[in-house]
Symmetry: C2
Subunit: 595 residues, 2 copies
């Protein structure tokens, strides 16, 4: 293999242009394609910037031609040559450098390549396991190169904005203390302290709060976090977070600076001018209008409450829900009475059952009247009220859910989305951002038989609801907020509790004994004794943000070396077995139950 010595690249392939005509260039890269036209060989040379055509002509000597003839796809080479204007009939308008070509005078082959397991080109349809096993080849493909270069730019845009706005980047520890609240920790056995473990951070939450106690005022970090959960399609065991915290602020202050951050991101990354302020919905409003706390507002089909209309109707399902503390709500799927066949409607009813619906009543408003399994149970005035409130017109399909509120919301929220998917309403070039605020502070966990923190135990209740902490926890709203993009939560945070007293009341409401609170969060409670500023912050899922901005379907396409669903890495085969000596040093034994 030849050496790079004395062969200093003068340009990237994709940057060769008409301005270089007549000049000598040294280019390096990979053989994208080679065509032998007899006496002349064309090589498309590729690097991260693009492709340029290199011409090997037999006039340049036999030795060079023989070498060029030996080239195959993905050989890594360098060429020295003269840039020439292509004859008009050979101009390739599909590539940036299509008006020029480089007549080679020298060729160096740095290394050969076996035939790759899949073609190095955009949009291949290859099993992802194979792509990940050969990730270094997958990453050569122009789309993956673009994704990671986009991600690179996103890091810089975010950090530059935050730095320019007075935020200080501070690293927090990766080897830290296990806090069994929240998700499952990844543990790291200690060699020096037998039987003790570090935990990898699920987030730098406690540390960033301590940094506020320490007076850093505004903190940020783009940081790896870890959760040992069963992986859903869009989760990774290690993921990246934009972590932000600020002092002497209330909800509006955090939202204001983050809106400017988002505006900067959209302008710099996509050339899109976000109008500020962004819409805000309270949690309550989001649920009532969209059935979810992460509404996708790229399309309508909002939920409509019909409880009052059907309270006394003869249709038992509706009347029961309405009278037993539940509700009856509906969405109007505009035009879907025409667009959907009866079978498609049935499929929708089945789909609804995934979310706890016992059924999904519907009315198809057709030109020759209403088609529906339920109208026969309803009085005409009830029907008219319903049609009026839903603004039903001929062609519309009305879908009803009647149950406890949480079921109704879940069912209609999901049915709404499913219809949008079927109607292709989820336009990836549209970016609808909104804040959801005033989340409930607690949610009741049937499993634990107690209230648990909806965000985390450091979230501040809203000032006006503090008095209900002990008497009516369910009604206490928090100073938490989520930022939602096209129906996906991309970030969330809260104003934190900064009073030791209030923090103790909060722990009590969560059913923590004093001892347990001390054991878990003793150092935070201790810190709070020394003059804690009011503070709050936010964290964004960086991988997910990147994915949405790029219009991708998988966060794995924004990560250089992702894990697959079972958390393993097909490239390195991690996790793997280790040597017994390593375990002995860590004072642990493998404890696998042999079956």
């Amino acid at each position: 293999m030849e050496s790079i010595k004395g062969f200093k690249r003068t340009k990237y392939c994709g940057e060769v242009s008409l301005e270089d005509v007549g000049k000598e260039v040294i280019l390096t890269g990979w053989v994208d394609t080679r065509r032998d036209l007899g006496g002349i060989i064309f090589v498309d040379l590729r690097d991260r910037t693009g492709i340029v055509q290199v011409v090997f002509d037999e006039k340049m000597g036999e030795e060079l031609m023989e070498k060029a003839d030996s080239l195959r796809s993905e050989y890594c080479i360098g060429i020295r040559g003269i840039v020439e204007k292509r004859p008009p009939d050979t101009v390739n308008p599909k590539i940036k450098t299509g008006e020029v070509e480089v007549r080679a005078k020298e060729l160096r082959i740095f290394s050969k390549s076996e035939t790759p397991p899949f073609p190095i080109e955009e949009g291949i349809n290859v099993n992802e396991a194979v792509r990940l096993k050969y990730r270094y080849l997958d990453l050569r493909r122009p789309d993956m190169q673009r994704n990671l270069m986009f991600r690179h730019k996103l890091y810089q845009v975010v950090r530059n904005f935050l730095s320019q706005n007075g935020f200080i980047e501070i690293e927090t520890p990766m080897l830290t203390k296990s806090t069994p609240e929240g998700a499952r920790d990844y543990l790291v056995p200690s060699r020096i302290f037998p039987g003790k473990f570090f935990a990898l951070p699920q987030s730098p939450q406690l540390f960033k709060q301590l940094l506020m106690v320490a007076g850093f005022d505004k903190y940020f970090q783009i940081v790896k976090c870890f959760r040992d959960e069963d992986l859903r399609a869009d989760r990774q065991p290690e993921f990246t977070q934009i972590d932000i915290e600020m002092s002497f602020v209330d909800v509006d202050d955090v939202i204001e600076i983050n809106e400017r951050l988002l505006q900067t991101i959209f302008r710099e990354m996509l050339g899109i001018d976000l109008k500020l302020p962004l819409p805000r919905l309270t949690y309550k409003e989001a649920m009532e209008r969209f059935g979810t706390d992460k509404p996708d507002t790229r399309f309508g089909m909002e939920l409509v409450n019909l409880t009052d209309i059907v309270k006394h109707c003869e249709f038992k399902v509706f009347a029961d829900a309405a009278n037993k503390g539940g509700s009856v709500r509906a969405i109007n799927a505009k035009g879907c009475a025409v667009k959907f066949s009866r079978r498609e409607i049935d499929a929708l009813v089945e789909y609804a059952k995934n979310f706890g619906a016992k059924g999904l009543a519907w009315i198809a408003v057709e030109s020759d009247g209403l088609k529906s399994p339920i109208v026969k149970f309803l009085k005409e005035e009830e029907i008219n009220e319903i049609l009026k409130r839903l603004d039903a017109q001929v062609g519309d399909l009305l879908l009803f859910s009647a149950d406890k509120d949480e079921v109704v919301f879940d069912v209609l929220g999901n049915v709404r989305l499913e219809i949008a998917r079927r109607l292709n309403l989820l336009d990836k070039s549209k970016f609808n951002l909104l804040w959801v605020t005033e989340f409930p502070l607690f949610e009741y966990s049937e499993e634990e038989g107690r209230y648990v923190a909806k965000h985390h135990p450091f979230t501040s209740p809203m000032d006006e609801d503090i008095e209900f902490l002990e008497t009516d926890p369910a009604r206490v709203r928090s100073k938490a907020y989520d930022i939602v993009l096209n129906g996906t939560e991309i970030g969330g945070g809260s104003i934190r509790i900064h009073s030791t007293e209030l923090q103790k009341r909060m722990f009590k409401a969560l059913g923590f004994t004093e001892e347990r609170a001390q054991d878990r969060f003793g150092f935070l409670l201790e810190a709070f004794k020394y003059g804690t500023p009011p503070h709050g912050g936010i964290a964004y899922g960086f991988d997910r943000l990147c994915m949405l901005l790029l219009g991708l379907d998988s966060i794995r396409d924004t990560i250089a070396f992702p894990k697959v669903k079972d958390s393993s890495c097909p490239l390195t085969d991690a996790p793997s077995e280790v040597e017994p000596k390593q375990l002995r040093e860590l004072h642990i034994k493998v404890d696998v139950v042999k079956v």
Copy 2:
């Protein structure tokens, strides 16, 4: 405790200036000091930018005065007031805001503080364990605030430079595969694969090489790395690295861009204009002149080889060393015959023994002749030659070591440094950078009875030495380089092997079986089959760089939440015990031998 609502800070404390006189400001921060002069209370209010004096005057009402009277050190407060010019006789020239004060109209107490365990002020002399336990208070001290803000800026300067120079930031995995070569890994048990483990990366070495195979051309990352080693004073189990890799380059290219990076760092961080190119020493020259591969060139006292002069002398120690493949070398400690007492010289001899010296011969050149335990064994002409070669003058102290080269270098290299410390020659305001190049590719490990890689097994040999890989490994030099600042290695790297063939020869020379190489690095060898570019890179110890630029003695003072020597965290008490359920889920058992 009072709320922040409607109390939006208008300025930082340290930014209030004469320009604000007459204006109303809202400031927030911590009570640094409070002085009650009867009818008037002065509070020094502190935030991360500095201190400003706030005046509470009884004219403003009893309620305000009572509240001001309740203030104590480190209370977290906000004030609204009018900026006033101080009377000339009360101007405080020691602080930025010393010409103004703020007459308070409103005071909010956000939270009270107990008396801190140590004063929140610069340069305190407090046990580090206490400082780390209350790190959030320690970090309030102005010097720690400055250190972390400096570190923040260093991140940005480095990333901006690299981004502007075409480097792409790419994250590599934290949960990866254990490679028992090198230092000890931190392991992370897998829940999903019983008996298998992830390892935390000691460096992203393999991944950055794969990114070169993937065609990213120029990569960087500021990234946490992990080594489970016994901690020396300047090591942390988790540390931060500036990691860089580039394709189609040789040694000079890597050095060139890194010199520009260093120039930018010194200019932006310290206002120092580095002259480029930086000095370069080969490993051989560094050892011969300074006895170390990380020479501190802030002072002279270079080593001088006297082997040829003493080859036939009567002093057996010298003659033996000279004739049995070792050497006799000396340094001239200028003026030290006068500066050091006989006892101090003896102490130096003792010090030398720490590095394997059996003794340390010396000659004190005094005005009335030579004082020395050894001159009696030497002929006059030998003495004259020695004095001449060492440029000895009256007052000088000559120190000799005779042994195997490696011992001589270690002894004199360290004695040289020790003398510099005693003479206060290690000027922290001086920044001497240099490259050390052409390291040996291998070093012989007595413990393993084989050659091991001096850097790592992917380091490329120098082209002209490849032929000796099998026949004379000891003479093979590598394309490795270190960057040294004031005698500390701040970074190091190499051009990597990019040929599968050569990589296989390298593994063989290291005594790896094919199987072992496959098992450890199979995916890298596999990747190398598909067109690997020539590539190389470097990694800097970020913590250490930061420490040296700041003139600090401990990297812990550059890290927000460092670990102590035994790798534990005095703040959070990590590592800690975990719940049995956590271990069961991870299929491990604690295996502590009870004593």
